[in-house]
Symmetry: C2
Subunit: 184 residues, 2 copies
């Protein structure tokens, strides 16, 4: 494989929002270093998601309105890693507690992806939370309206096949989980 | 499940790039319709990716530099659906031909995802290209430097497990493929 890294001669933030910044990079192809091309990158913190699995083999999903698609989405809990979070695992436990009211003794990192290497620099880390149990009321953000829905684990492949779960990062998390189960 | 769609009272494009636009929506929560919140949505066309499978059971991957992560990425061919593409399937065949030089008689839609329902409205459609064969030289875009790499299909789960493939949309496509194989 040929390594083909482009050089960067300039970068500026062209627009900032509370959850992402749009950055313009001035880049130079290795084979034509004197020609400049502009590429845009979406800057954001790393993300996490977590599959809460109860002792009676149910997965705790959330269903909520998503502003991107202007529709409802069935997902596992997840979100941004906050500056206060000591690690991705801590962020995953916090998001699970806030969005579902569940906690777990054991979180296992099962995989990670780049949400979109073409446009985004960040990663998304996926966790399995074993022995998840309800410990209190959910505490969603001011702008989140969340329904908590449990499904038996054996129904999860069907939820995927039937298109009930469409969030690519949730599909990836469930894939890592199935792989993890198979190998452990 | 409670349907919790938010109303929109305004939207404006705050920044445009050749591949995406950043849009600001003024939204109103169903339970508090007189309070406004701004949410940002990344507008772009729908995307496709395609798994080229040869008659000797090899998958045709591409390896290329990605500006988002500033690194190399192992992926299957894919890209944006162009206005000239009659369908997502046509776009998938075109991208496969351009990026790898391969064509196939049969493309099968195996699944689709929302890349990120929180931030993006678009979809990504995944295809399996059976009987893929080299028909000419790749014709990448001016700004693409692509290496074509073939792997036996039996090695694909290992490539995922070992973290060689990190693009979430490619992970999702491979998941749809494994599901398709299992059921057919």
């Amino acid at each position: 494989m040929t390594k083909r890294f482009w050089a960067t001669s300039g970068r500026d933030i062209v627009f900032e929002t509370p959850v992402l910044s749009l950055r313009r990079d001035r880049k130079h192809r290795p084979s034509a270093p004197h020609t400049a091309h502009d590429f845009f990158v979406i800057e954001s913190v790393d993300w996490v998601n977590v599959i809460p699995l109860t002792d009676d083999d149910e997965v705790v999903f959330i269903e909520h309105y998503r502003h991107g698609t202007d529709g409802m989405s069935l997902e596992v809990p997840g979100g941004m890693i906050d500056p206060e979070d000591a690690s991705p695992m801590v962020a995953a436990a916090r998001e699970m507690r806030e969005e579902t009211g569940y906690a777990a003794n054991e979180l296992i990192e099962i995989g990670s992806v780049h949400p979109n290497p073409a446009l985004q620099e960040n990663r998304c880390f996926s966790f399995l939370a074993k022995g998840a149990r309800l410990v209190g009321e959910p505490r969603p953000d001011d702008t989140e309206d969340i329904d908590v829905v449990r499904y038996p684990r054996r129904e999860v492949p069907r939820l995927l096949r039937e298109g009930r779960i469409t969030h690519a990062l949730v599909v990836a998390a469930l894939w890592w989980w199935f792989q993890y189960e198979e190998l452990s």
